[in-house]
Each structure stands twice: as structure tokens, then as C-alpha cells.
């Protein structure tokens, strides 16, 4: 769970293998932040909003969301949309993770306000590096509510 002073990492990923690999690699890279894994988009929405669709908390500080695009029930893109639509959650930095490198898909995610789009690589080094740098970056400054090209 997110610590007050550290950047907490929330991973929304339906593939157990991918989730495990992401966590392991982050740990190996030296990120010691709190880590929470949710199994799909619905769980993510339940985490952020209560039954009436009101944000569960006033502020989500020191939190990075890693969001898989292709998930059953609620897709990552839908979660992204909901988070960026709501004032309380709009400032949370979101990294989209996907196997797709389709330019239109990428374009769509950036239009909805994702902060970074990472194609799930077969080689993980690049991915870990990106998450790490984003983590360090987030410890220093706040991310604008909706923006592009933060990375």
C-alpha cells in the first residue's frame, strides 16, 4: 500500500505472469515503493471510486498507476478515461502498458490524458528503466492534471 512519503505503485494487470514479472523487475531495479496489484479494470475502478462513483479519497498522493490496456470486463482505456475525467484522480500519473504498438491506439490513450505509453517489450530492461525514471521524476515534481509527453 502506498506510503505517505514514497511513490506507491498500483499495477492493474489481468495476466498473472506479467504482473509478477513487472513486480520482480521493479524490485530488482531497486524500487522499494509500496506495490499493489489489481486483476482488472473493474477492481481498479472499485479502488478509486465508491459505489456512487464518488472518489474514495480526496487526494491520491504519491501514486503511479500502471494500466494494462487489454483486460476483461473494464479495459485499461476505460479506467484511464474515468480517472482523467474526475478532478480528484486526474492528477495521478498513469502509464499505459500494452502489447499493442498501433499508432492509433497510442494516439487515443494520449488523447485521454495518459502520461506515458509503454509497449510491453519482450526485453524488459527498457521498460524497467522507464518506470524507474518516471518514479524518480514523480518524487520531485507533480504531474499536470492532463498532459502529454511527460516522458
Amino acid at each position: 500500500m502506498a506510503d505517505k512519503d514514497e511513490v506507491g505503485i498500483l499495477l492493474v494487470e489481468d495476466d498473472d505472469g506479467h504482473a509478477l514479472l513487472v513486480e520482480k523487475n521493479l524490485r530488482r531495479a531497486g524500487l522499494s515503493n509500496g506495490f499493489l496489484r489489481l486483476k482488472d479494470g473493474q477492481e481498479a475502478l472499485d479502488y478509486f471510486f465508491n459505489g456512487e462513483g464518488v472518489p474514495a479519497r480526496e487526494r491520491f498522493e504519491s501514486l503511479v498507476v500502471l494500466l494494462d490496456v487489454n483486460m476483461p470486463r473494464v479495459s485499461g482505456v476505460d479506467v484511464l478515461k474515468r480517472l482523467k475525467e474526475n478532478e480528484s484522480t486526474a492528477a495521478i500519473p498513469i502509464i499505459m502498458l500494452t502489447t499493442t504498438d498501433d499508432p492509433r491506439e497510442i494516439e487515443r490513450c494520449y488523447d485521454y490524458g495518459c502520461n506515458l505509453y509503454i509497449t510491453k517489450p519482450v526485453e524488459y530492461e527498457a521498460f524497467i528503466e522507464a518506470v524507474r525514471r518516471l518514479g524518480f521524476f514523480l518524487q520531485i515534481i507533480k504531474v499536470p492534471p492532463v498532459g502529454r509527453g511527460v516522458a
Binding site: D15, G17, H18, N25, T99, K120, V122, Y124
Partner: protein, 542 residues
């Protein structure tokens, strides 16, 4: 009837009419002339009758004179009798045609002969000196009666003749009148007949000519022709020709329409088939795309966890080193890890990398069909220069010479065009023959008048070349000829073929194994119509 004959009739009908009238006129004139002749003849007869009376009276006077003078010598002369005979003969000749008058002339002749006999008797009496007897005879009323008979007969003859004269004069004036009437009728008739003939002719020929002109006009305008004009002359024939021309024109139009409809139907079918094909291609690409995606997910795990295993192996080594196992066991465990686990992991990783590359290639291939092109006038010269620049390291390594002619622009998506030339030039450089100095030439063929909308670019090398058997597979995906020479999944040519086809162009290759290869690609100069795109297809030259 021919027009000439009609024209002839136009002249002939009034002509014949006039001829008939002329005959009548001539006849009436002849009648008048004859009537006049007869009238003159009657006058002659009357005068001649007077001529007959004169010698009779002279003879009577001569008798009286002889008696008074008592000298018969005067009576012995026969001149008066001769004259009388002559005059009666002439009179007889004049009335030879009239039996009644002739009978009268004969009666006059008989009376004259009787009178002469009586005169002769008196003459004898005078000669014999029987003057008294003579005077007595002269006093005899019978002698007077003879003269009177002659006189009366002559008067009667003349009266009959005068009657005739009157009748004949009347006939003359009637004939004259008839002649005048006939003349007027002939004149009026001739005018009327001419007018009538002209009217009939103009109504017949003129009316039909108007219809004919109308038909000719309609034929030029493509309208429906009026009913055929009747008759059997040149106008009818001309009209018949017009109608036939119209019918043939209509037939031709119908044929053309049918042909056009057939063509349109074919075009529609083609379009439908084409759309269907495009849909199928899209479906296929979509299928490849989603399958590639789904395949990627497990690959990520395979690769990720083999890496994890690799890390674990490292940790295992550390653990073994730190353990208190004897050296022999440590070595054995290390050997197992090195020779079995590590080698197996390497194979797995290689396989995963290869699979990932193939899936990437499939994704790229499927995306070529789906990506939207921003077609525009594209500077091929710049693109080729950029491609050569990007490959400068490889070119240097291979010690190759890459030259580009000045290249005209084409019309297409700049990124896609760059892909085409990048692939072709890359292939040319990669498959150069290491045994000789490599050259690659990029150029353009002279414009083809038959394909004004396209320009044919080529990339020529003196490299390894392609075996003839392999040429037909050049543009199929996942075929690699020189797998050892360069990396790749063998989708490059399939990829750019798809790009070229989507631009409406063609791509083909000519090659001699061991001598070199030339790739040709035709690209549009200006925006192409979909129909042109249909006509373009794949083509491979040996």
C-alpha cells in the same frame, strides 16, 4: 410515279385540255368559214338567176322589134339562146347540191325551151310573111304566159334561194358566236387546267417534301419520324431511306445502350467483388493483427520468466558458492546449471526472440493494409538521399558505391514511399556479392506514353542475384533466400508490394543469378482513380 413523269403530267394535262379546246375552236372556225362560203354561194346563185332572166327578156324584146319592123333577120341570130343555155348551165352547176332547186332549174330550162320553140314558130311565120297571123299569135295570152311562167319560176327560184341565203347568214352568225364562246372557254379552260394541275402537283409534291424535310430534321435531332409519305416517287424513296436510317440509328442506339448497361453491370459486379475482396483482406489483416497480439502476451511471459530463471541461476551460483558442499558436488551442480539449464534457457530465449520478431513482422504487415495514407506530391530525390544517408554505415562496411540519378517526384504517402526505397536499397546493399566491388544505382525509366499517370523507378545492383526458380516467390511473406547474409523475417518485399499496390502501382523484379538484380516499381504521378487501381496488379518478370 417518278417526279419527271409528274412534271410531265403537269405540262401535259393542261396541254391536252388546250389541244381538245383548240380542236373545238378549229372546228367552229371551219363551220363559220363554211357557212360564209355557203352564204356567198347563195348570192352567186341569186345573181346567176338574174343572168338567166336577162336574155329571156331581150329575146322577147327582139321578137317585138322584128314584128314591128317586119324583119325576121334579127330573130335568126342564136347568140341570146346560146347565152341563155350557158347561163342556165351555170345555174345548174351552182345548185348541183340542191335537188329541189335543181328541179326548178330544170323546169326553167324546160320553159325556156318551150318559149324558144314558140319564138321559132313566130320566126317562121314572120319569114313567110304571115304577119297578121303573127300579131294574132302575139296577142295570144298563151304567148305572154310563157314569159310569165319563166318569170314566175325565176322569182320562185330566187325566193327559195333568198330563204336559203337568210338561213345561211343566220348559220354564219351562229357559227361566229360559237367560235367566240369556244375561244373564251378554251382560254378559261386552259388557265383552269394549268392552275388545277399546278395545285395538285404542289399539294402532292410540296406537302410530301415538307414532311420529308421535317423527317430529315428529326433524324438529325434524333426525334421520332413522322408517318411515311405516300406515293411511289423519289420523295417516297428518299423518305424510305430516312426511315431506314432512323430505324438503324435507333437500333444502334439500343445496341449501344445494351452494351453500356452490360458494361455497367460488369463494372458493378467488379466493384462488388473488389469491395468483397477488400473486406476479406481487411478481415484477414484484422485477424492476423489480433492473433499476433494474443501471441505476444504469452511470449512476454516466456521471455520474462526465462530471464527470471537466468537471474535465479545467478543466485543459485552464489548460493552454491556460499554453501558448505564439497567441491566435487559444487562442480557437478555448476556443470548441470551451465550445460543443461543455461543452454536450454539460451535456446528458449533465442526461440522467443525469433517468434517475437515474426509476430512483429506480421503486425507490421497487417498494419500496412490498415494505416491511412496522407497522399501528396512527394520528393523522391530527398527520400532516397535520406535512405542512403541512414544506411551510410552499412554502405561503408560493405565498401559499396550507391549512386542516385536525379529522381522526379511521385504522388503518395511520404512515409510509405520511404519504406519502399528503404527496403529496396537495403536489400540491394545487403545482398551485394562480397567477391566484387558492389554498386547500387537508383534511377527512373523514360516516361511510358501508355501509362502517363505512372513513373517507373528502379533500384539496380550487381549483387548475388536471384535464381529463376525463386523469382515468383520474391514478394511472398516469410520467404528468405539468403537467410545467412542479413537479418529479417522475409516480409520486407511483401510489405512494400502491399504499399505499392495500395498506391495503385506495380512492383516487379528482373534478375540474373550471380550478375545482379533490378527491382522496378511504378508509382503514380498524380492522384489515381480507383478504376486505374483495379487494372494494376501484381506482376513478376523473370
Amino acid at each position: 410515279m417518278k417526279l419527271f413523269r409528274k412534271g410531265l403530267l403537269l405540262v401535259a394535262i393542261p396541254g391536252m385540255f388546250e389541244l381538245g379546246l383548240l380542236g373545238i375552236l378549229y372546228k367552229s372556225q371551219e363551220n363559220a368559214t363554211r357557212a360564209e362560203v355557203w352564204a356567198l354561194h347563195t348570192k352567186d346563185v341569186i345573181i346567176q338567176a338574174g343572168e338567166v332572166r336577162e336574155p329571156v327578156l331581150l329575146q322577147s324584146a327582139r321578137l317585138r322589134a322584128a314584128i314591128i319592123l317586119n324583119d325576121p333577120s334579127g330573130l335568126e341570130k342564136n347568140d341570146l339562146w346560146d347565152s341563155l343555155d350557158k347561163e342556165i348551165g351555170e345555174l345548174r352547176a351552182l345548185v348541183g347540191d340542191n335537188t329541189e332547186q335543181r328541179r326548178r332549174v330544170e323546169e326553167i330550162g324546160a320553159s325556156v325551151r318551150e318559149y324558144r320553140q314558140w319564138i321559132d314558130i313566130q320566126t317562121e311565120l314572120l319569114k313567110n310573111g304571115k304577119r297578121d297571123e303573127l300579131v294574132a299569135a302575139l296577142r295570144d295570152p298563151k304567148a305572154l304566159r310563157l314569159i310569165q311562167v319563166i318569170q314566175r319560176q325565176l322569182v320562185e327560184f330566187i325566193k327559195v334561194e333568198e330563204n336559203l341565203d337568210e338561213q345561211r347568214l343566220k348559220a354564219v352568225s351562229e357559227a361566229r358566236l360559237m367560235q367566240n364562246v369556244a375561244l373564251v372557254i378554251a382560254l378559261l379552260g386552259a388557265i383552269l387546267a394549268a392552275a388545277l394541275a399546278a395545285r395538285i402537283f404542289s399539294r402532292d409534291v410540296g406537302g410530301r417534301l415538307a414532311v420529308l424535310t421535317g423527317n430529315a430534321l428529326k433524324l438529325t435531332e434524333g426525334g421520332v419520324l413522322a408517318q411515311r409519305v405516300g406515293g411511289n416517287d423519289e420523295i417516297t424513296e428518299l423518305d424510305k431511306v430516312l426511315h431506314e436510317a432512323s430505324a438503324r440509328l435507333r437500333q444502334a442506339e439500343d445496341d449501344a445502350r445494351a452494351y453500356r448497361e452490360e458494361l455497367e453491370r460488369h463494372a458493378r459486379e467488379l466493384t462488388a467483388v473488389n469491395e468483397d475482396l477488400q473486406r476479406q483482406t481487411q478481415d484477414n489483416e484484422m485477424f492476423i493483427y489480433s492473433v499476433s497480439h494474443d501471441l505476444r502476451s504469452p511470449l512476454v511471459n516466456l521471455q520474462g520468466f526465462s530471464k527470471e530463471l537466468h537471474h535465479s541461476v545467478g543466485e543459485l551460483h552464489d548460493t552454491i558458492n556460499a554453501s558448505d558442499l564439497n567441491d566435487g558436488d559444487k562442480q557437478r551442480i555448476r556443470d548441470i546449471i551451465e550445460e543443461d539449464v543455461e543452454v536450454s534457457l539460451r535456446f528458449i530465449r533465442t526461440a522467443v526472440t525469433r517468434s517475437a520478431a515474426i509476430i512483429d513482422a506480421m503486425l507490421r504487415l497487417s498494419r500496412v493494409g490498415r494505416v491511412e495514407y496522407q497522399a501528396q506530391e512527394t520528393n523522391v530525390d530527398e527520400i532516397v538521399a535520406r535512405v542512403i544517408d541512414a544506411m551510410s554505415n552499412t554502405i561503408r562496411e560493405r565498401q559499396a558505391l550507391v549512386v542516385s540519378q536525379p529522381l522526379p517526384p511521385c504522388y503518395g504517402d511520404p512515409t510509405a514511399i520511404e519504406q519502399i526505397f528503404g527496403n529496396l536499397i537495403g536489400n540491394a546493399v545487403n545482398y551485394l556479392d562480397p567477391k566484387r566491388p558492389g554498386t547500387v544505382e537508383i534511377g527512373v525509366l523514360p516516361p511510358d506514353p501508355g501509362q502517363p499517370d505512372f513513373r517507373i523507378y528502379y533500384v539496380r545492383d550487381n549483387g548475388l542475384g536471384i535464381p529463376a526458380d525463386y523469382l515468383s516467390k520474391m514478394f511472398s511473406a516469410f520467404h528468405r533466400l539468403h537467410a545467412d547474409v542479413a537479418q529479417g523475417e522475409g516480409v520486407g518485399l511483401a510489405l512494400i508490394k502491399r504499399i505499392v499496390l495500395r498506391h495503385g502501382g506495380k512492383i516487379w523484379v528482373e534478375s540474373v543469378e550471380g550478375a545482379g538484380t533490378t527491382f522496378y516499381t511504378s508509382l503514380p504521378v498524380r492522384p489515381v482513380q480507383p478504376a486505374t487501381q483495379l487494372a494494376q496488379g501484381e506482376q513478376t518478370h523473370g
